[in-house]
């Protein structure tokens, strides 16, 4: 049976609406937490999907932006909760616990960092690109570990979730509503972007860089902008993830996390709108249920991933709709 991708996408969104609502009624708050985790990881991977799926850049260092988003939240909220001033050279602030401001800071900072990393990394391609992005990830990881002011390896605990006007973010379903709404907004933007002239050009840059040049467009600039947008979205996800856990630590910068984000996309389907979403849901479910079965659940996760690569070209969406994913 072949499913139309549109129906599949609709089904997925409906599921993400229905499951938490069911969990509220059945009084299963942890289910909401799990779905929130999946939604935030999906958001991060949607960001990655812009460079990976559309632009064909295999970034093995996207945890950098996830971590920067997390630390943006952690640092701002830390100063707000301890009433200490945060000196930023020209001006001083007391931090903030107001989510929209935190998101903005997270997105701007990670976008800026993405600009510089992209500027340097895009000089390379192929395996070298994979490795130089990994190297940037490692630099940030080690930096965060030894950044004693903000907890170093211990990380930063934010005791109370940050505020959003009109909502009590401590209630799982309300926090979920925020994350879900942001995911929907970003998915919508992703869809627009993918179909827009920019998306088309970026997609072309992945498949035939020379072609893009010969029609008078600069693939480097296309890719760099994509990298910045992607970094900002992943940064936003990082800020939400930190708020979900009320905690930030250097593990948000780890190369395993970069790897996991890639895995999410491949499970779902590279370059597909809902690929990261499906991937994240499946991944979180696997992590949760396999973990209950055995201490050695990583073995099974490995086998499943292997099967997806070897037999499931195009990820789960590819399997269900019969379409192959983007070639990277």
């Amino acid at each position: 049976m072949r499913l139309d991708e549109k129906y599949l996408n609709g089904l997925m969104i409906a599921g993400l609406l229905a499951l938490p609502l069911w969990a509220v009624m059945a009084d299963q708050p942890f289910t909401i937490t799990l779905v929130t985790r999946a939604v935030i990881l999906a958001l991060a991977a949607v960001g990655l999907n812009i460079v990976l799926g559309i632009g064909g850049m295999v970034s093995f260092g996207h945890a950098v932006f996830f971590g920067i988003g997390g630390y943006a939240m952690g640092i701002l909220a830390f100063h707000a909760q301890t009433y200490t001033a945060l000196e930023l050279g020209l001006f001083t602030t007391d931090g903030t616990k107001f989510m929209p401001v935190i998101w903005l800071v997270a997105m701007i900072t990670s976008g800026l960092v993405a600009f510089f990393i992209g500027l340097l990394s895009l000089r390379t391609s192929g395996v070298y690109f994979i490795m130089i992005t990994l190297a940037f990830g490692q630099m940030f990881f080690y930096f965060a570990i030894s950044w004693a002011q903000y907890g170093g390896e211990d990380g930063l605990s934010i005791y109370v979730r940050n505020d959003f006007p009109g909502l009590n973010t401590l209630i799982p379903i309300q926090f979920y509503a925020i994350c879900f709404t942001l995911l929907c907004v970003v998915l919508f933007l992703f869809a627009r972007l993918q179909a827009s002239p920019f998306g088309l050009a970026l997609n072309a840059a992945r498949q035939a860089g020379t072609r893009v040049e010969t029609v008078g467009l600069n693939p480097m600039r296309l890719k760099l902008l994509a990298f910045v947008i992607s970094g900002a979205i992943t940064g936003l996800a990082g800020a939400l993830f930190a708020d979900l856990n009320r905690f930030v630590s250097p593990t948000m910068f780890s190369w395993q996390l970069s790897g996991e984000l890639i895995v999410l996309i491949i499970i779902g389907g590279v370059g597909r709108l809902m690929g990261p979403v499906i991937g994240a849901c499946v991944f979180v479910a696997l992590e949760h249920f396999l973990g209950e079965l055995t201490d050695f659940w990583h073995v099974y996760l490995g086998v499943i991933l292997l099967c997806i690569v070897l037999f499931g070209r195009g990820g789960l969406i590819g399997l269900l709709t019969g379409k192959e994913g983007a070639h990277v």
Partner: protein, 376 residues
């Protein structure tokens, strides 16, 4: 196969949950690197629960994979879905910092079987948080005290560059009265210590103190033993514990390390614990196993007196700490951290097995440096 059997035994235990009146949530590291510590804590804890014969205690065990974000989510699960009364099990300080403050603020009791980060002992202490193991600095402080007793004048000290490492060197310096021949922060997870060993050789130190948990310590000790430097080495128990010692081998022989527990501490509880642990799991218990065992017994002693639903009474019962500890005397200080004796041990070989023997007391009835900052 043994592991699966015990896991099955646990789930059988959990299955009796229908009758359970008290629910305990254990978040600990059971997979990936560092799983050995979590497994020991879990086994020690479950041994005590099984020996108590109580079937009204349900223990929910979850694996945090040593990832803080996973630990936080499991903690949410324990509190929101499982509605546990008491939580325990976390091995690592960074995970504890991620989980404990939020958990105790939601009126759950937390009994720490291993990690004791300084914020939780000082300004961030909480009436529902009890540490059954040690404050992080304790064993390092004891090492400093031991170094004074051994008449060391000039120590070369080193630890990884992360908060617990910084705390370790601070703890040692707090008690050590001699000078420092060198102070080095290594990279976390570093496996080659040739450069540091060369620095030790070039220094005029008369002793070496190091805190390098897990594989880092194994690597350092093997390389140090091979370097031909024969300065005495002192360290906290973590690199000389039962689980890890066999991997260090001869390189650890004779090294002095500090610990609040050893299998030869002479009291009936400890003797029985060591015997029954060996009988049940077929290996010698480790420090972590003893901590898990003591944590469970503290919990059991409090449950005998009060129900967790009566939080005040239950807290009082915990604070009284009227249980037979494997360490002998045990009581809580004002910040709910142990006041206990810390020993200096020496690594010896019993037959084919490397283990520790108590040399003497390093610090008697020792509390911690942060208790004064705790306003409960």
């Amino acid at each position: 196969m043994k592991k699966f059997l015990t896991a099955a035994a646990f789930s059988a235990l959990c299955a009796t949950g229908a009758l359970a009146e008290v629910k305990v949530g254990m978040i600990t590291t059971l997979s990936g690197g560092g799983a050995g510590l979590g497994i020991d804590v879990r086994d020690g804890f479950m041994l005590a629960i099984a020996q108590s014969g109580r079937d009204d205690i349900e223990v929910v065990i979850e694996d945090d994979q040593r990832k803080p974000d996973i630990a936080v989510q499991l903690s949410d699960k324990m509190i929101q879905s499982e509605r546990v009364d008491v939580m325990t099990g976390i091995i690592w300080s960074n995970l504890a910092m991620a989980v404990v403050p939020a958990a105790v603020n939601q009126n759950v009791f937390y009994l720490s079987p291993n990690a004791g980060p300084s914020p939780l002992a000082g300004k961030g202490c909480h009436q529902n948080y009890f540490n059954v193991a040690w404050q992080n600095d304790n064993l390092h402080e004891a090492a400093g005290a031991y170094a004074n007793g051994a008449d060391y004048k000039k120590s070369f000290i080193m630890a990884p560059n992360y908060p617990a490492g910084v705390d370790a060197l601070t703890g040692y310096k707090r008690f050590f009265e001699g000078e420092l021949a060198g102070e080095v922060y290594t990279e976390l997870g570093q496996t080659d210590y040739a450069a540091e060993i060369a620095q030790i050789r070039a220094s005029d130190a008369d002793s070496v103190f190091f805190f390098l948990p897990g594989g880092m310590g194994i690597s350092f000790l093997k390389q140090y033993a091979d370097s031909g430097i024969d300065l005495p080495v002192v360290g906290p128990a973590f690199s000389f514990d039962q689980g890890i010692l066999q991997a260090v081998g001869d390189a650890a022989m004779g090294v002095v390390n500090t610990s609040q527990w050893n299998k030869d501490i002479d009291n009936p509880t400890n003797t029985a614990f060591v015997e029954s642990f060996q009988a049940e799991y077929g290996r010698l218990p480790s420090l972590y196993a003893s901590q898990g065992f003591d944590t469970a017994n503290l919990l059991l002693s409090a449950l005998d007196k009060a129900d967790p639903s009566d939080a005040d009474a239950f807290r009082e019962a915990l604070r009284a700490a009227e249980f037979d500890s494997t360490r002998g005397d045990f009581s809580f200080g004002p910040n709910h951290h142990p006041v206990q004796t810390i020993y200096a041990r020496e690594v010896i070989k019993e037959g084919d097995v490397f283990t520790n023997k108590i040399l003497g007391v390093a610090l008697e009835n020792h509390s911690d440096a942060y208790a004064a900052e705790c306003k409960m």
